[in-house]
Symmetry: C2
Subunit: 478 residues, 2 copies
């Protein structure tokens, strides 16, 4: 009855990275497909990762003064139509509700693809004076975008996310908020997900529909491709004007306020998989792993083994760690493969000989290292190793990004680099959309971001040779 | 510029309970209406109550072995149609998505009114053997039911809830789960919301579409009306048969598993309002209040007052309490009314004379009692009072339910009781739907539940006089 050793069934990442990814999301039991086109079932193990992401990010939002709210999931067509750029960006990919029960609706409702319009309508209702500002709101919900090609976590028709929506007295305050939340995202990615990111501004072509500026964090996956992992938008007073949101300022004048929005989604789980995973499965950073350590008893029928394993389980749990124990009758080998597949950061093995020596064996998921540690000091040893795993994962990911980031000042050179491997390529750019599109056609890359830097690689655009002020990072993206 | 004293604007509950309710949800800033028919915006203060409900209930679910998942929000029409009773119950009130972007869909999708069908499809995919059972899943999400008449929290077209869906090897196990979760709900209502509930089984007429048995917790509001506050359903193997879910049992035979589902929603916030609120606004039980105590400094311009108030804020926060401080330039009177409206359980006033005497004043929201306490022992005093408030609220609600529950053995008597006031009326019932419907027409009540008891008030049905085994509690319901 025992399941097969799961690891045999995964495609190697070097052979086919895309299939490797799909194998992992299925075999680590993160998601399952459903009969609804482009929608996925997030299974307990996948959802537990999302819960840890939520909990920690939500704390960071609250520490920076944000409050959670909940907006309706439907947007009347007339409301979606109020901001011109916004509706143009989203209308082609929304799901339309046309009937309630057996009755045809007077006005179609779309299922929210994002909620700027609903927040604007609400802000118009509740904001009168500068005393009502700022409002720093966030919501955790699911949104729907009718995608043609979908992949679990990376691009699905429905996905879970958070969307922050804030409104301010001044331009400066709103811009500061846009930057603050980008930094929150970057810090979270680094400190919890062990993922280094590039911070920068999107080119106009890649900007959010209706935004004056879009900031982004871009992460590099193991295969050298980029994943846009979070965005923060500055809207100026464009939405406020379209929705007629006004407030009485400190000089008793009517003014339009300034707005931002920012979001990250379950896509972050895709990033974790593709940054840290290996040919044995998922590798989870201890800070967001549903279980940080799994206890696998050896020779479970020998007297005292299960008792000792239970005792260690209780001890480690009491110390505040997230611990799992597997006392089932599967073989140790099966269990090793199973928890490697699931990316549990640390495995604790304990058998009769270990007990005799007052020891246990700890095996790291990230590098396979085995150490024998005394049971006397177990909690501290485990914590130290988990910290080291967290730091090592970040370091490895930083190394991958550094080693796969190249500068180019010549189009042929750029093309050669891009043909050779997936990577980040830094070049100067004149700012023209034409050049941006040409680079896509000729080199096969898209602009990832313009990092916040004054650095210059040359004075001219890599594409047209005209004067260039902007440093851009290009890459192939998911 | 100062806001008006809010409390002046509320309708008295004795004058018009429905308007009083609507005034509170608006004035305490729990919800705001939106342009989407029957949908509401849950504002930060309302959502913070929901977050506290979620956090504590979720802990109780996890302690009883449940795991969270996320299912798609759409159900293809063919999937909804698979279980006959279920689709009949829900099809008339679902929202239909017919278009994705500009394309008409091949098959309509409904926005989930509840997710039995999706869980069944998923269970069919992942369950093969008795080793895969039980699955104890839950999800937090929003659902849509196209309601004609809506009221914030009580009945809205979209609402937030949790829905547990479990699947088991045996009938006994599934029934035990159905009962266990009903008890979790009842315990939660009593221990966190300070709301006593009646536990029982629904009559067949009031049963969930597709269920073999529906259990319910029924709470009595301040006005004597009933609010169905949570339900737990036993499905037998009906859904499993309709969806062809089978597993290989311990004797290697193919069998259909047994299922349950159970849910509570933001309706619980409506219950809190209507059980504990008064003419000054909301009254929140300390265990789920977003802020348990608010600090209002008196004579803020006097030297040392704000410093002392800040010091107390830090001390109380450090002790683990949820504390708010209001150092704005509004008058103390305005602040008192404001936090009474918002139902903050305890108010701490501190002014120059208090500081001189090393004292502060604590004022209870539930009964207005004022006590002067020494600052030396503040944390303990506050905790003791909060515990007493929690206990007093429960006691008061229990008293209201006890005083407004009556037995009747005669139809005229029952009618007289029901005409006089809203209340629970206990009678014997033969079990016939006809009698149930007649009582609705003649007495104006619906069956709330059949409590789990062997108690008998007589041997005959209050309506038809035939032999009756069942004790039923009747009432007017929201």
């Amino acid at each position: 009855m025992a399941k097969e050793k799961l690891v045999k069934e995964i495609t190697s990442m070097d052979e086919d990275f895309a299939r490797w990814y799909t194998d992992i999301v299925k075999k680590a039991e993160l998601v399952e497909y459903s009969s609804v086109k482009g929608c996925m079932v997030i299974r307990p193990y996948g959802y537990a990762i999302w819960e840890n992401i939520q909990k920690n990010l939500d704390n960071m939002f609250k520490e920076t003064g944000h409050e959670n709210v909940y907006m309706p999931m439907f947007i009347p067509e007339s409301l979606l139509n109020k901001e011109k750029d916004h509706v143009e960006g989203f209308a082609p990919e929304v799901a339309w509700v046309t009937h309630g029960g057996s009755e045809k609706l007077n006005e179609r409702l779309c299922v929210r693809p994002t909620s700027e319009t609903l927040f604007c309508e609400h802000y118009k209702n509740i904001i009168q004076s500068y005393r009502d500002l700022p409002k720093l709101y966030n919501q955790w919900c699911s949104v729907v975008r009718w995608e043609k090609t979908t992949r679990p976590f990376l691009r699905s028709s429905e996905f879970l996310w958070q969307e922050g929506h804030t409104i301010h007295e001044t331009e400066e305050e709103a811009i500061a908020e846009t930057e603050r939340m980008l930094n929150v995202y970057a810090d979270f990615a680094r400190d919890y997900l062990a993922i280094p990111v590039l911070k920068g501004r999107k080119t106009e072509k890649e900007q959010f529909a209706g935004a004056k500026a879009t900031y982004t964090i871009e992460a590099m996956m193991h295969d050298g491709k980029a994943l846009q992992s979070g965005t923060s938008h500055y809207f100026g007073d464009g939405f406020a004007k379209a929705f007629e949101i006004q407030y009485t300022d400190r000089n008793n004048q009517l003014k339009n306020p300034y707005q931002t929005s920012w979001g990250v989604s379950t896509r972050l789980i895709g990033a974790i998989i593709m940054v840290h995973g290996d040919d044995n499965g998922l590798v989870l950073p201890p800070k967001i792993a549903p279980s940080q350590l799994v206890i696998v008893p050896i020779a479970t029928k020998k007297e005292g083994v299960l008792e000792k394993a239970s005792e260690l389980y209780d001890r480690l749990k009491a110390s505040g760690l997230r611990v799992l124990k597997d006392f089932t009758d599967q073989t140790p080998g099966w269990k090793f493969a199973e928890y490697e597949m699931k990316g549990v950061p640390l495995r604790l093995e304990i058998g009769p000989r270990d007990i005799e020596n007052n020891n246990c064996v700890l095996v790291r998921r990230d590098n396979g290292e085995k150490v024998i540690v005394s049971l006397d000091n177990l909690e501290n040893e485990v914590n130290a190793i988990l910290e080291d795993i967290q730091a090592s994962l970040l370091k490895k990911a930083e190394k991958n990004m550094a080693e796969n980031t190249f500068d180019a000042t010549d189009l042929e050179e750029m093309k050669k680099i891009a043909d050779e491997k997936n990577c980040f390529i830094r070049t100067m750019w004149c700012g023209d959309r034409e050049c941006e599109e040409k680079l896509k056609d000729v080199v096969g890359v898209t602009s990832r971001c313009m990092p916040f830097t004054d650095e210059k690689l040359s004075d001219t655009c890599i594409c047209c040779g005209k004067k260039a002020e902007k440093l851009v990072v290009w890459g192939k993206a998911y």
